[in-house]
Symmetry: C2
C-alpha cells in the first residue's frame, strides 16, 4: 500500500462499521474505488438527475443537502461536518428513494468518495453493507423530519432567531458574515421576508445590520424568541 491508500484505509475503517464484515477482497475493492476529492466553496457536488456519485465521508469543510422547487426555491434538509457520512448521494443505488436532492460544498471541502460501481457490488454481495446504507439513510430521514418541523410548525420570527443563534454558536462570533439572500435560501423563504424580519429585529435592538454582516447585539433578547 502507498501512503494515500493508507490514509484512505484509515478513514474507511473509522467511518464504516461494516468494514470488519468485509473479506479482504471486498476491502481491496473498496480501497481502490475510493478517492479524495476537493471542492471549492459554493461548488455543486450532486444532483440525482445528473449522475450517481456514491457514498462519501466528509473529511474537511461543510456540505449542505437541500431540495429545490421548479422555480428554484431551496430548502436546506441538513448539513454534514467532518467525519459524517452521506448516503443520499448514492440514491440511484437505493431503489426506495424516489425523490431528488442537491448537494453543495458550503465551504471549501474535502470528501472521501467511494464510487457507485464498488458500492453496488458490495451491496449485492454483503448484507451488512446494504444494511448500513439503509440504516444511515434512516438517520438522514430524522434530520429531514426535524428540518420540515421547523419550516412548517415554527412561526418565522422564531425560525429566524433560531437560525441566527445557531450561526452565532457555530461560528463562535456575534458578527455573522452573511446576506439576506443566503439566509432566505437556508430557511426556504423569500429574501423580502428575511429582510423585513431582520429590520424588525434591528428596531428591537437585537441586531445591527450592515452590508454582508449581521451583528448580534443582544443575545438574551434574541433567545427570548426561541
Amino acid at each position: 500500500m502507498n501512503q494515500s491508500e493508507n490514509i484512505i484505509t484509515h478513514y474507511l475503517k473509522e467511518s464504516y462499521p461494516f468494514w470488519n464484515k468485509l473479506n479482504s477482497r471486498e476491502q481491496s475493492l473498496l480501497i481502490s474505488n475510493s478517492t479524495m476529492i476537493r471542492y471549492e466553496k459554493d461548488s455543486f457536488i450532486y444532483s440525482r438527475d445528473e449522475d450517481c456519485l456514491g457514498v462519501f465521508i466528509v473529511l474537511e469543510g461543510q456540505i449542505r443537502i437541500y431540495i429545490q422547487s421548479e422555480d428554484s426555491r431551496e430548502i436546506t434538509l441538513f448539513r454534514l461536518a467532518p467525519d459524517e457520512v452521506c448516503t443520499l448521494s448514492a440514491s440511484c443505488l437505493i431503489q426506495e428513494i424516489t425523490f431528488d436532492i442537491q448537494i453543495e460544498a458550503e465551504e471549501s471541502s474535502k470528501i472521501l468518495l467511494s464510487n457507485t460501481p464498488a458500492i453496488r457490488t458490495l451491496i449485492d454481495h454483503n448484507i451488512y453493507v446494504e444494511n448500513y446504507i439503509y440504516k444511515h439513510t434512516t438517520e438522514h430521514f430524522s434530520d429531514v423530519m426535524w428540518a420540515f418541523g421547523q419550516i412548517l410548525f415554527s412561526s418565522f420570527d422564531k425560525r429566524l432567531a433560531a437560525y441566527l443563534e445557531d450561526e452565532r454558536i457555530r461560528s463562535g462570533s456575534c458578527v455573522l458574515k452573511t446576506t439576506h439572500e443566503q439566509i432566505a435560501k437556508n430557511l426556504g423563504s423569500a429574501r423580502e421576508v428575511v429582510s423585513r424580519m431582520l429590520k424588525y429585529f434591528e428596531k428591537e435592538g437585537i441586531v445591527l445590520l450592515s452590508r454582508g454582516t449581521i451583528t448580534i447585539l443582544d443575545t438574551r433578547k434574541l433567545r427570548s424568541y426561541l
Copy 2:
C-alpha cells in the same frame, strides 16, 4: 396450528420478504406474537410518545400517518392501504428515528400487528429482519418527501385541486363526503383557507358545495389546475 394461526402465517409469509430467512424457531416466535386487531373509523392507533406498537400489515381499511404541531395542526405524511406495511409504528426499535408521528384508522380497519419484543428479538438475531425494517423505513422516507414537496412547493389552488382529484379517483365518485375541516387537516392548512379556495372553485363552476358534501361538476377544469 389452529385456523387463526394459519391465516396469520399466510399474511406474514406474503408480506415479509425476510420470512424465508427465518429459522423455524424464529417463524414460530413471529407467529405467536402477531395478532389481528380491529380499529373503529377515526380511532387513534399510535403515538411514539405513548407506547411502542410494533410492525404491522394493513389487512382492511385505511391508515393515516401524520405529524402534529404543538398547537395541534396536523400534516398527513402518507396513507396505507391493505397489504401495505408500517414500520414507523416500531420507531422505538429504530434508534435512528428521533421524530414523533401519529397513526390513526381513517376508516374501519384491521391490521396484523407483530409486537415489539418479538420484532426486537428478530432484529437482534437476524440481519435480514433488521435490513427489511430499515429498507421499508426508507420507502416511508420517500413518501414523506413527496408530501413535503406538495406542501412546500405547490401553490394552494394546485394542492387543493390535486387533493379533490385524488379523492375522486380513490372513492370512484364525483360526490365527496368530507368537510372543509377534514380537508384542512389533510393538507396541513387552516379551515378558512380551504373554504375560501373551495368557494372560488364553486364560482368557477368546478364544484358544488353543500353541507358535508363536495360535488365535482367539471373534472376537466379541475385537472387544469394540476
